[in-house]
Structures are given as structure tokens and as C-alpha cells.
């Protein structure tokens, strides 16, 4: 992310958290714009056209979910939501409102940087309009052009729905995907409440793709929120 020094907008009301993030991102070549309230954040988002938004869910003057929704009205900028553990339903709501990813407090700097990298890369790929024909992560290699799935050297056979689920995960690799999002993408619009479909197919997929399905390394569960495809 060194080429153009992306603009990062941090909307966070706690001065300590801002100080910490300022220090953590100081070594990276990014331009950090800070906002302490939802209103200021929205103004900065419109004015500075950031490449990425780090948004705290608990703001004094408004709901982070609302901020997400407002930004999404006119911008596709990647949004990473920061929240405390135990607010799973807020996270899901923010993700369903259009946020790209989330971080649970407390988190480490490497984790933050990794999420930012994924989000920026994803946005760049969307902008260029090009999809990588081949996805590789760990032992998994998927050739999207030839519809071929390899684990190590071995080809695995997936049912059409399993494959559809896998490709949906690949399209957003590295990002968390809510149950609702995946159901809509794989099964269609009216299945948002049928989460057990998703769970059953995810289990099947893990048994075919993961080395140890009880300890998945690729298809990760984000408890209470959804799933994430690990990128290596």
C-alpha cells in the first residue's frame, strides 16, 4: 500500500484509541484523517474521499451502523468496523448495512494491518474490474476458469452448491461474510432465515477442503457473525 499513500479515515471518539492507532499506523505510509464524532466523520468522508474508513460502532452522537448506511448511499469505500466483544448483533447489522469487515476490541496491530490490506486490495480489484482466474490459499487452489478445485495435489469433487458457496467466499476472500450475505448469494433472496442450510454445506465443504475439519484453517467461523475465507 506504499504506491499512493492511501487516505485512512478514523472515526473514533476515545482519544486513547486514536492515539494508539495514530502511533500504530505512523510507521505505515498512510495519511490518517481523524474524526471524533459521527457528524465529523461523515463530513470528512465526503470531503477527503478516503480510501478506507475505520469506524468505531459506539459513537457519542450517533450509531455506527447509521454512519455506515449514510456513507454507503454515495460511496463504496471499504469500511472496517471496530467494536467490543459481545456486540455480535451490532456487527452483523453493520456488515449487512454495507461494512466490509470488523475488528473486535482488543486487537493487535498486525491483525489491523492485515484487515486493512485485504480491504484495500479488494477495493482495487473491484475498481480494475478484473478477477484473478486462480485463487490460492494454503493448500487450496481453485481454478475459476476451469472450475477445478485442488487440495494439495489432489482434485476434490464438489457439488454445484458447494462450489457456488466456495466461489462466493473466494470473491470476498479475507473478508467476513454474514450468514445473510452468503445465503442470498448462494441460495437466493428468500432464504435469509435458513441458516442451517449454510451450516450443513459449510461443514460438507470443510470435510472436502480442510485437512482437519474440526480445526479449520481456511474456512473460518466468525462466531455469531458469519464466515471468512483465510488468505495466506
Amino acid at each position: 500500500m506504499a504506491d499512493l499513500a492511501p487516505v485512512i479515515l478514523l472515526i473514533e471518539d476515545e482519544p486513547e484509541m486514536r492515539r494508539f492507532l495514530r502511533a500504530a499506523l505512523g510507521t505505515e505510509s498512510v495519511q490518517l484523517v481523524e474524526a471524533a464524532t459521527a457528524r465529523e466523520g461523515l463530513a470528512q468522508a465526503a470531503g477527503r474521499k478516503p480510501d478506507l474508513v475505520l469506524l468505531d460502532l459506539g459513537l457519542p452522537d450517533g450509531d455506527g451502523i447509521d454512519v455506515t448506511r449514510r456513507i454507503r448511499e454515495w460511496s463504496g469505500v471499504p469500511i472496517i468496523v471496530i467494536s467490543a466483544r459481545g456486540q455480535e448483533s451490532d456487527k452483523v447489522a453493520a456488515l449487512d448495512a454495507g461494512a466490509d469487515d470488523y475488528l473486535t476490541k482488543p486487537f493487535g496491530v498486525p491483525e489491523l494491518l492485515a484487515r486493512m490490506r485485504v480491504a484495500l486490495r479488494h477495493a482495487a480489484r473491484l475498481a480494475s474490474g478484473k478477477d484473478e482466474p486462480i485463487f490460492v490459499s494454503g493448500d487450496l487452489r481453485v481454478d475459476l476458469g476451469r472450475r477445478q478445485v485442488l487440495v494439495g495435489e489432489k482434485e476434490v469433487h464438489l457439488t454445484p452448491l458447494e462450489y457456488k458457496l466456495l466461489t462466493a467466499m473466494i470473491r470476498h476472500a479475507g473478508k467476513v461474510l454474514t450468514h445473510r450475505h452468503l445465503l442470498k448469494e448462494v441460495w437466493g433472496a428468500n432464504t435469509a432465515d435458513q441458516r442451517h442450510y449454510l451450516r450443513v454445506y459449510m461443514t460438507q465443504l470443510r470435510h472436502k477442503v480442510e485437512k482437519d475439519p474440526t480445526r479449520p484453517r481456511l474456512l473460518l467461523t466468525e462466531p455469531g457473525v458469519g464466515y471468512r475465507l483465510q488468505v495466506s
Binding site: 457439488t159 435458513q194 451450516r199 461443514t203 474440526t214 473460518l220 462466531p223 455469531g224
Partner: protein, 902 residues
């Protein structure tokens, strides 16, 4: 020798109670008179003006001026409440507005004509019920009443004047009034006033005027009124004597039993009974003997209900006993209840019946022994109601006639066979046997029919001249007569036995129903269960639908879960229920209060008063007017009330216990917090400060070590806070479980990843049964369970030992085990380890707060499962829990074509 002695404590207590009740209630003052026109309203208004002049908040609820200028003039200065208008059959009536009076809340309200009957659709049938409500609300009431409206004097007045007054007021009302003021006028003065047109008469009274306002009548009525007031003064005198400990000769333990039948005239007997009881100042009981196998006529049944209700209004205890022999039942009841006097009506039936069957009255008098028996005049019932006989088994008369034909046919066939060889007497014997068989099995009709048929066939076939109904030898007539008599006798006996059996069965059913209810209620632990048991038994025993209402935290009545569809509790029914609850009296359909309601409302009373209301709906709600049914229903309500009170008290105790527990938790939490949060904090502070101050001088490895410990301790604090938060959620019951159908693999995988390095020293084996079904659970919470259990295993077992997670299906659940190879659990502590702040005796320095397992158990319990611990036979500990599989997954998965990808 009127001796002063100390009043009995119970009397004093009674008096204090009465005074307390009176303090809360309004005072009732009655302006009492012998007949219309004596100036009751006038006296009342004059006094009201005087009161108002004293500054008392007094207003007029309703006073009829009857167009008389003097009354109107008195009324003019007083505040008058608006009246309520009621449309009834096209006529607009104005009525006293109870709600307006309750809302206005004056100190005293004037309500004329206590005996008035309200227009249909009013809250109460009668005005005195309105007055009761006012008094209960703490509003004092002044009202007027004529002597002929007093219930107990009703028929005496009717005898004197020949006018039957329908609007009567219970005597208790008069007796309990706080003040009675007599408005008196001599008959001559009254007649003069009448002639001058100063007395207003209602239209219907106009007709009776000549009969009513005869001088003789007026004198008699005046005497009645004066006597009634004198009686009251006498009672007051006695009360005074009791209060002040003045001894008197008390009638020793008199008790009167009044026997009533099911006829309209029985009410007279009850009134007479009241007078006797009042004179003797004794308890009295009104008894009705029900004879089994007899069904009362509808009108008689109503009369009986009315009679018993009247008796209860007069303060008598009413009892219905069942038995064949009226006299015997009465005497045994009297003996069992220390009755000293029995009051019965003179028999009305003809003498021959007594000669034939014996007289109940005769038997009663002969068997009465020490008990005095009073027989009073007239058309009163003597205990035996007019009845129509019902066959005990009316359901299958045709089957019985068929059976009769079959038996007679068989007898004829058998007779035909033996007739050749044996004599005609033997054939008669066979027919007799047949008649006996029929009589012992069937009702009277088929028995007589069988006997007659047998006689006819016997005569036709076997008695010379053959094949005619003529009889040559007259001695056969004796045979015929015997057959008929035998049939009648046996069928009579059979009928009686069957009736007794039926009666016993009925009693048995009632007892069984009550016993069943009390047994089921005894097992209830929650309000839900009480409601369910009550509903179940009322439906089984009465076929009616029930709601149970109890006051909520705001004091308003609300239906208890589970709520049934019927009876519907709309605003109106809730109002009735509220009345029944506050007054602890029955109300609604089939009662005198708010009879327009759809359902019957029974107060549920426990030892400490009303605890709720049972609302009963049934297509034939009227049958609860019948005393036996009503008493049974009341017995049910009593049981339910006691049970409801019991579980409510138990819930309260439980609540108090929980509060104590919560208090204990808070204390323990505080002490533990101060220790467990400060330890990591001091590490972090120490490490961070030394890095800031001397960072440059430290060796790189030391710096790294310090930074590691900061991170480690911060994570430890994070986990601790997470556990504390979960603990609070479990404890306060705010733990939100979002169950979804999923596989157990998921939370185990997530837990293992989140634990990361903490399990580095312990290889974890996951062993899930291949046929493990989907289970409904909350993934986030279950993940916490696995993390806590695995962390515990890591903490308490030596490095390098294996930890195994296993899950297998069980009936209706999945059993999950987390097994380690550590030292196992201290013996006897298997359950204590789940207690809050429990720590193993040899607690390690890294030990947590001791909440992990408590939270696990809390989470599993909230899921409806169970968690326990045991030791492995070959060393180590097992933590096991069950997750129930309730219901089915929401829908089957859509089938996917078996075809796999290329």
C-alpha cells in the same frame, strides 16, 4: 345481678376487627319508615343541609322529589350528581350514577330508596349493591327504606296488606347499618297528608292505594317498623354490654335447623326460621334433602336455588344432603351438628299417602329425641319436593323391552318343552322366573310389561281353555296376581339399589374429582402448573373453560399464563373479575352481581385473603345456581386459591433467596475483582514503566520479555472481564440465548483457534460421532463453554497430557464430554467445583477467579441441558454436558442433485 367482668379476648378482637373494617368503609345511615309518606326523604334532606352548613362535603346522588315543592326546596341548596340515563325498551330511565359518585368521592352521598331495582344493563341488579360499593370505597351513604322492603318481614307485610312487595333488601343490610333513624308519623296524620295530596304514590302503588292505606294496615306496619327498630336497639344494647364486659345469660348453644323443600313456598319457612333464629340469637342451618333418582321440575329447582340463596342472605348456613329417607337424613344431620331445634312445614299432601307409606313428619317427630320440632303453618314444603320419578337408566328403554321380549320368549319356549311332561304349575314357575330376571335387570316399565305379557301368554297357551284368554279355573287368577306382584316388588328393589349405587357413584365422582384436583395441585410448583391443573380438572368435572387471574405487580388483575382462548377477558369481564376479587364474592353470570357478564367469576381465597379470581365459562352456566354444583365449584375454587397462594409465597421466598444469593455474589465479586484485576494490572504497569524509564539500558531480550508479559497480562484481563460479564448475565438471567440449528464442530473449532498457544502443551483430540445430528444452540455461548473447559484442563493437568473432546447422540439430546488425564477431581467435590469462586485446593498461581465452570453450567442450564463432572476410572476428570434436541430443524434441506462437479 349484672356483674362486670373482663370481656373475652376473642370478643374484643372481633370488635377491633369490625371497627377496623368500619374505619376503612363508609358509614351507612338509614332513614327508616313504616310506609311511604312518613317523611323519610324530608328528614334526610333536612339533616343533609345541617351537615353541609357544618362544612361537611355532602352531595345528592339521587333523590326523587316526586314533584313535591317542599322536597324540591330542600334539595335546591345541595350539590346534585348528574344521573345516568338508560334506554330500556324505548323508555329513557334515569338512574343513580355509581361511577360518577365514586369519581366525585364526597364524604357523604345521599341515595334515596334503598330497595330500588336498577334498570337492566346497570352494573348491579339492585341499588343496595351500588350502596355496598360506595361504602366499600369509603364513602358514607344516607338512604331511605320502608319496612315492607325488609326481606324477613316481606311475607308478614304481604299477609297484612295483601300486597306482595318484590323489591326486598337483605336484613343484614339493615342490621349492619351504622345508624338507623326512624321517621314516624301516626296513621291519622298520614291519612290526612294523603288526603291533602302531600304523599306521592307511584302508579302501581296507586292501584293498591285503597288496600294499602287502610288505617288497620298502617297501624300494623307502624308496629312492625317500631318493633324492628326496637330489635336493633336491643342488639345494640347487647353489644354495649359485651363491649363493657357486662355478663348476661346467654342462650346456651342453641342451633336451629330449618328443613326446606323444593317449592316456592319454602321461602316463607326460611323467613320464619330467620325470625326464630333472631329471637334465639343462635346459629341456624337450612337443609334440603335431595332424594336420589328424582329429578326436580325446572321451576322447583329454581325455587330451591332461590330459597337457599335467600337463606344465605339471611346469614344461614345452607346444606344439601342426599338420602332416601328424608326424616332419617334430617335427624342424622341434626345429631351430627348439635342441633337443638328443628323447624319444618306442615305437610300438604293427602292423608292416605301417609297411611300407605308412612309420614316423614311422623318419623321425624318420633325420632327427634331431645330435639324440639316445630311444625309451622301452611303451604311450606315439608322436605319432600314434588318430583317426577326418573328411571335410573333411561338411556336404553328399547333395549330393555327387547330383552324382556327375549326372556318371555325363552320362558314360553321352555314352558312349551316341559308342558308335555310336567304340570302347568311348573310352567307358571318358569314364567315367574322369567319375570324375576326381567325385573332384576330392567326398569319398572319393562318389568310390568314382561309380567303382563307372561300372564297373557301363560293364559293363552297353557291354561285351559287353550288358545283363548279365558280362564276356566279362577285359581289361576292368584298365579297371575303373584306374578305381577313379584315383578313389581323386585323391580322396585332393583330400582332402589340402582339409585343408591348411582348416588354413591355420584358422591364418589365428586370426592374423586376434588381429591384428584387437590392431589394435582399439591404437586404444582409454579403458577403455570396451578393454572393448568385447575383448567384440566374443571374441564373434566364440569366441562367448562377457565381463566385464572391474579394481581400483577401493579395490583391490577391479569390472566395468568397459559392463557386460554375462552372465556374472553374483555374490559367488561375484567371489571367483573375485579369486583369479585376486591369483594371476595362471586359475581357475573348466574349471580345477583353483574349478571350480564358472560362468565362466572369466583374469588380465589387463601389463608391471607383473596389471591385471584377464577373465571368460568360454560354453555350452561346456569347450572351453577344449583347448590350442589355451586358448592363443588366453590370447593374447587378454594383448593385452587390455596394452591395459588402457596406457589405465590414459594415464589416470593425463592425471590428473597435469590436476592440474598445475589448479595453474596456481589461481595465475593468485589473481593475477587480487587485481587484478580490488580495482579495483571501491576504487571502491566511495572513492565510499561520500566520500559519507558530504562528502555534504552535494557538488553533486547529483557525488553522483549517485558513486552510479552504486558501483552499476556492484558489478554488475561480481557478474558477475566469476559467471564465476569458472562457471569453477571447468567446470574441476572439476562443471558440471551440465540439458538440455531448447527453442528458442534463449529464452536469446537473456533474455541481451539481462539485458545491458540494456551493449549500448546496439551494435544487435543476431537472425537465426534459420525451420526451426530444438528443441535439447536447459541454458537457464541457454546464456544465460551469449550474455551472455559479446555482452559481448565490446560490449567489443572500436567503438560503433555492429552485432552479429548467427544460427542455422541443420546435420546432427545447430545452428550458432550471433555476428558483429561490430570489428577482428577478431589473426591466429594464433583459438584462443588461448579460453585461460584470455587478454586481447586492446590490453586496454581495462574488460577482464575473460579467462575469458569459456573458460567459453563449457567450457559448449559439456559440451553435446557445439564452439566456435571466425574472422575475417569483410569485417571483424569470428565466434564460432561447434555444439549437437548427439542423440536425439529426448521425445514428439510433442499435436495441437491447427486451429481458432483464434473
Amino acid at each position: 345481678m349484672a356483674l362486670s367482668s373482663r370481656p373475652r379476648p376473642e370478643d374484643l378482637l372481633e370488635k377491633i376487627r369490625a371497627e377496623e373494617a368500619r374505619a376503612a368503609k363508609g358509614l351507612l345511615k338509614i332513614f327508616f319508615g313504616a310506609n311511604p309518606g312518613v317523611g323519610k326523604t324530608f328528614a334526610m334532606l333536612e339533616e343533609a343541609r345541617a351537615k353541609r352548613a357544618e362544612g361537611v362535603d355532602i352531595c345528592v346522588g339521587l333523590v326523587e322529589t316526586h314533584g313535591r315543592p317542599e322536597t324540591a326546596a330542600l334539595l335546591s341548596g345541595l350539590e346534585q350528581l348528574p344521573r345516568r340515563t338508560v334506554e330500556h325498551r324505548g323508555v329513557t330511565l334515569t338512574e343513580f350514577d355509581l361511577d360518577a359518585a365514586l369519581a366525585r368521592r364526597p364524604t357523604i352521598v345521599l341515595v334515596d330508596e334503598l330497595a330500588h331495582t336498577n334498570a337492566p344493563g346497570s352494573r348491579h341488579e339492585r341499588r343496595f349493591q351500588d350502596v355496598e360499593d360506595l361504602l366499600a370505597a369509603g364513602i358514607s351513604v344516607w338512604t331511605t327504606l320502608n319496612v315492607q322492603h325488609l326481606e324477613s318481614l316481606n311475607d308478614v307485610v304481604a299477609q297484612i296488606t295483601g300486597v306482595q312487595v318484590r323489591e326486598t333488601v337483605p336484613d343484614a343490610f339493615f342490621d349492619d347499618a351504622d345508624e338507623v333513624e326512624l321517621a314516624d308519623l301516626t296513621p291519622d296524620d298520614l291519612l290526612r297528608r294523603l288526603q291533602q295530596g302531600k304523599v306521592y304514590l307511584a302508579e302501581q302503588a296507586e292501584l293498591a292505594r285503597d288496600r294499602f292505606f287502610r288505617k288497620g294496615n298502617l297501624i300494623a306496619l307502624r308496629e312492625l317498623a317500631l318493633r324492628r327498630v326496637a330489635e336493633r336497639v336491643d342488639a345494640q344494647m347487647r353489644g354495649y354490654m359485651r363491649d363493657h364486659g357486662i355478663r348476661e345469660i346467654w342462650p346456651a348453644g342453641e342451633r336451629l335447623l330449618v328443613c326446606v323443600g323444593a317449592n316456592p313456598a319454602a321461602a316463607r319457612l326460611v323467613r320464619a326460621g330467620r325470625r326464630v333464629a333472631a329471637t334465639l340469637r343462635c346459629d341456624w342451618i337450612v337443609v334440603h334433602v335431595e332424594t336420589p333418582g328424582t329429578a326436580l321440575r325446572e321451576s322447583d329447582r329454581e325455587a330451591l336455588v332461590e330459597t337457599l340463596r335467600l337463606a344465605e342472605e339471611f346469614g344461614a348456613q345452607t346444606v344439601t344432603v342426599t338420602g332416601h329417607n328424608v326424616a332419617e337424613e334430617i335427624l342424622s344431620y341434626a345429631a351430627a351438628n348439635n342441633v337443638t331445634r328443628i323447624l319444618v312445614g306442615k305437610p300438604t299432601h293427602s292423608l292416605w299417602r301417609d297411611k300407605l307409606f308412612g309420614s316423614s313428619l311422623d318419623r321425624l317427630i318420633r325420632g327427634s329425641g331431645d330435639v324440639d320440632v316445630y311444625v309451622i303453618t301452611g303451604d311450606a314444603g315439608e322436605g319432600e319436593p314434588r318430583v317426577r320419578r326418573v328411571a335410573a337408566r333411561r338411556s336404553m328403554p328399547w333395549a330393555e323391552y327387547g330383552f324382556t321380549l327375549l326372556i318371555v320368549g325363552l320362558a314360553t319356549a321352555l314352558g312349551w318343552l316341559v308342558f308335555r311332561r310336567l304340570s302347568v304349575t311348573d310352567v307358571a314357575m318358569i314364567y315367574l322366573l322369567g319375570a324375576m330376571v326381567v325385573a332384576s335387570r330392567c326398569g319398572r316399565g319393562p318389568s310390568v310389561f314382561g309380567a303382563l305379557l307372561s300372564i297373557a301368554l301363560f293364559d293363552f297357551l297353557f291354561v285351559p281353555p287353550f288358545y283363548t284368554l279365558e280362564v276356566a279355573d279362577l285359581s289361576y287368577l292368584l298365579t297371575f296376581g303373584t306374578m305381577l306382584a313379584v315383578a313389581l316388588l323386585i323391580s322396585g328393589f332393583t330400582l332402589r339399589i340402582r339409585q343408591q349405587a348411582e348416588l354413591a357413584r355420584e358422591r364418589e365422582r365428586r370426592t374423586a374429582a376434588l381429591y384428584g384436583l387437590s392431589r394435582d395441585l399439591g404437586n404444582t410448583r409454579s403458577r403455570d402448573e396451578v393454572v393448568k391443573a385447575a383448567r384440566q380438572h374443571l374441564e373434566d368435572s364440569f366441562g367448562c373453560m377457565v381463566q385464572v387471574l391474579a394481581p400483577g405487580p401493579d395490583g391490577r388483575l391479569g390472566a395468568l399464563e397459559p392463557i386460554a382462548r375462552v372465556p374472553v377477558l374483555d374490559e367488561k369481564e375484567l371489571g367483573v373479575a375485579d369486583w369479585a376479587y376486591r369483594r371476595a364474592e362471586m359475581a357475573g353470570a348466574g349471580t345477583a352481581t353483574l349478571p350480564g357478564a358472560n362468565a362466572l367469576h369466583l374469588p380465589l381465597t387463601g389463608a391471607s385473603g383473596a389471591v385471584g379470581v377464577m373465571v368460568v365459562a360454560s354453555p350452561d352456566i346456569e347450572r351453577f345456581q344449583e347448590p350442589s354444583q355451586r358448592h363443588l365449584l366453590e370447593a374447587f375454587a378454594g383448593q385452587v386459591g390455596v394452591a395459588l397462594e402457596r406457589v405465590t409465597l414459594a415464589e416470593r421466598t425463592q425471590q428473597a433467596r435469590l436476592e440474598v444469593e445475589a448479595e453474596r455474589l456481589r461481595t465475593a465479586l468485589l473481593s475477587s475483582l480487587s485481587h484478580d484485576l490488580r495482579t495483571p494490572l501491576s504487571v502491566i504497569t511495572g513492565a510499561a514503566s520500566s520500559l519507558r524509564e530504562r528502555g534504552d539500558q535494557l538488553a533486547p531480550e529483557t525488553r522483549r520479555e517485558l513486552l510479552e508479559s504486558v501483552l499476556e497480562q492484558a489478554q488475561r484481563m480481557n478474558r477475566l472481564i469476559g467471564n465476569l460479564l458472562n457471569m453477571i448475565r447468567v446470574e441476572t438471567g439476562t443471558l440471551q440465548v440465540q439458538k440455531e440449528w448447527q453442528s458442534l464442530e463449529d464452536p469446537i473449532g473456533v474455541a481451539l483457534i481462539r485458545l491458540g498457544d494456551r493449549m500448546a502443551q496439551h494435544p487435543v483430540k476431537v472425537n465426534l460421532a459420525p451420526d451426530l445430528p444438528l443441535v439447536p444452540f447459541d454458537a457464541v455461548l457454546l464456544e465460551q463453554v469449550f474455551i472455559n473447559l479446555l482452559e481448565n484442563a490446560a490449567k489443572y493437568t500436567p503438560p503433555g497430557t492429552e485432552v479429548e473432546i467427544a460427542a455422541e447422540p443420546a435420546p432427545g439430546a447430545v452428550v458432550v464430554s471433555v476428558m483429561d488425564r490430570g489428577p482428577g477431581l478431589p473426591p466429594g467435590e464433583q459438584d462443588r467445583i461448579f460453585e461460584k469462586f470455587y478454586r481447586a485446593p492446590e490453586v496454581l498461581p495462574t488460577g482464575g477467579v473460579g467462575l469458569g465452570l459456573t458460567i459453563c453450567r449457567g450457559i448449559i442450564t439456559t440451553h435446557g441441558g445439564r452439566m456435571w463432572a466425574e472422575n475417569r476410572p483410569d485417571g483424569g476428570a470428565i466434564f460432561r454436558f447434555t444439549l437437548p434436541i427439542a423440536g425439529r430443524p426448521p425445514a428439510d434441506l433442499p435436495l441437491e442433485e447427486a451429481e458432483s462437479l464434473r
